[in-house]
C-alpha cells in the first residue's frame, strides 16, 4: 500500500465526515467536491483513467455546480440540529451495526473469490496462460469475461476498452441510459415550470 493511497483514503474519509457534519450547506458542498476529487484519484490508482475524468467532469463539475446554484437560489440558513434525540441514536446504532457486519464480511473473505483475485499479483504472467479458476469448487470461469489485465488494457488504451465494451456488450443498457437522461430532462422542465392560473401571459 503506497503512501498516496493512505493519504487519499484518509482525505476521502475526512471530507465525507465533513459533508454530514458541517453546519453550513455551502461548506457541505465544498466538502463533497473534495471527496469526489479524492475518489477520482483513487480511480486513477485503480487503473480507471476514463472514469476518473468522468468523475471530475460530471460530478465535481456539472452536478456540484447545480448544487451550488440551488444553494444560492434557496439560500438556506444554518441548520439548528436538536440534541441527541431518539432518532439520532437509533440511526447511529443501526449504521454502526451494518458497518461492522460488512467489515466482518470483507475481512472474512466471503465477498470475493480469492482464487481469482490471486492472479492479479506478481504471478500475472502465469495466470494469463492458465485459465482462471473461480468458484468454490475450482471450476473454470469464463476466461473471456475476466481477461482484462491492467497492462493489456493500458496498451490498448483505457478509453478504447471502455468504449468497446460500452458499444458491444453493454449496448442495450447504454441506450436505456440515454432514454433515462431524456426522461430526467423532461421531468425537470415539467417540475419547475410556472403555474399560471388562467392567464396566458409569459
Amino acid at each position: 500500500m503506497t503512501a498516496l493511497t493512505i493519504v487519499v483514503g484518509i482525505l476521502a474519509l475526512v471530507s465525507a465526515i465533513g459533508v454530514v457534519s458541517l453546519r453550513s450547506t455551502i461548506y457541505c458542498a465544498l466538502s463533497l467536491v473534495g471527496n469526489m476529487i479524492m475518489l477520482a484519484t483513487l480511480f486513477l490508482l485503480l487503473n480507471a483513467q476514463f472514469l476518473a475524468a468522468v468523475q471530475v467532469i460530471i460530478y465535481a463539475g456539472a452536478v456540484m455546480v447545480l448544487f451550488v446554484f440551488i444553494i444560492a437560489l434557496l439560500s438556506p440558513g444554518s441548520e439548528d440540529r436538536p440534541a441527541l434525540d431518539m432518532r439520532l441514536m437509533v440511526g447511529i446504532v443501526a449504521v454502526v451495526y451494518v458497518t461492522l457486519q460488512i467489515m466482518f464480511l470483507v475481512g472474512n473473505g466471503k465477498t470475493y473469490d480469492t482464487t481469482a483475485v490471486a492472479c492479479t499479483s506478481a504471478t500475472q504472467q502465469d495466470c494469463s496462460k492458465t485459465p482462471l479458476r473461480g468458484g468454490r469448487n475450482g471450476s473454470a470461469v469464463n476466461p473471456g469475461a475476466l481477461s482484462f489485465y491492467p497492462d493489456d488494457v493500458n496498451r490498448t488504451g483505457n478509453v478504447q476498452v471502455v468504449g468497446g465494451q460500452l458499444f458491444t456488450t453493454f449496448l442495450l443498457p447504454f441506450e436505456i441510459t440515454s432514454l433515462l437522461l431524456i426522461v430526467a430532462a423532461i421531468g425537470a422542465v415539467y417540475l419547475t415550470r410556472h403555474h399560471y392560473s388562467g392567464s396566458r401571459r409569459t
Binding site: A16, V20, R87, V98, T99, T111, Y112, L132, Q165, F170
Partner: protein, 102 residues
C-alpha cells in the same frame, strides 16, 4: 497497486457508504440529504471499480459509469423537486414535508 490494498479499499467504500447513510438519517436539510445520497453512490462506484480491478474485469468500470449517469439524472429531478417545494419561502426542513401522510 498490490493485492493487500483490496480489503482496505472495500472497507473505505463501506465507511463512505455508511457515513452517507448517517447523513440521510440524521440531517434535516434536503440539500444535505441529497449530498449524502451522492456520497453513497460514490462509495458504491469505488466498490465497483475496486472489484473490477482485482478481478481483471472491465464490467466494474462500465457499471460505475452507469451509476454516474443515473446519479446525474437523479440530482436533476431531485433538485427540481426541492426548488418546486421550497420556492414559496418555506423553511428548508424535510420534517415539514408531511402533506402526503395526511
Amino acid at each position: 497497486m498490490s493485492l493487500d490494498v483490496f480489503p482496505w479499499l472495500i472497507g473505505l467504500s463501506t465507511a463512505l457508504f455508511m457515513i452517507g447513510a448517517t447523513g440521510v438519517l440524521v440531517r434535516r436539510n434536503p440539500l444535505v440529504v441529497f449530498m449524502s445520497i451522492e456520497l453513497m453512490l460514490n462509495a458504491v462506484n469505488l466498490a465497483f471499480v475496486t472489484f473490477g480491478r482485482f478481478l481483471n474485469s472491465m464490467d466494474g468500470q462500465i457499471f460505475a459509469f452507469m451509476v454516474i449517469v443515473v446519479a446525474a439524472s437523479e440530482v436533476v429531478v431531485g433538485l427540481a423537486l426541492i426548488t418546486t417545494v421550497f420556492r414559496t419561502g418555506r423553511e428548508l426542513d424535510i420534517d415539514d414535508l408531511s402533506e402526503m401522510r395526511e
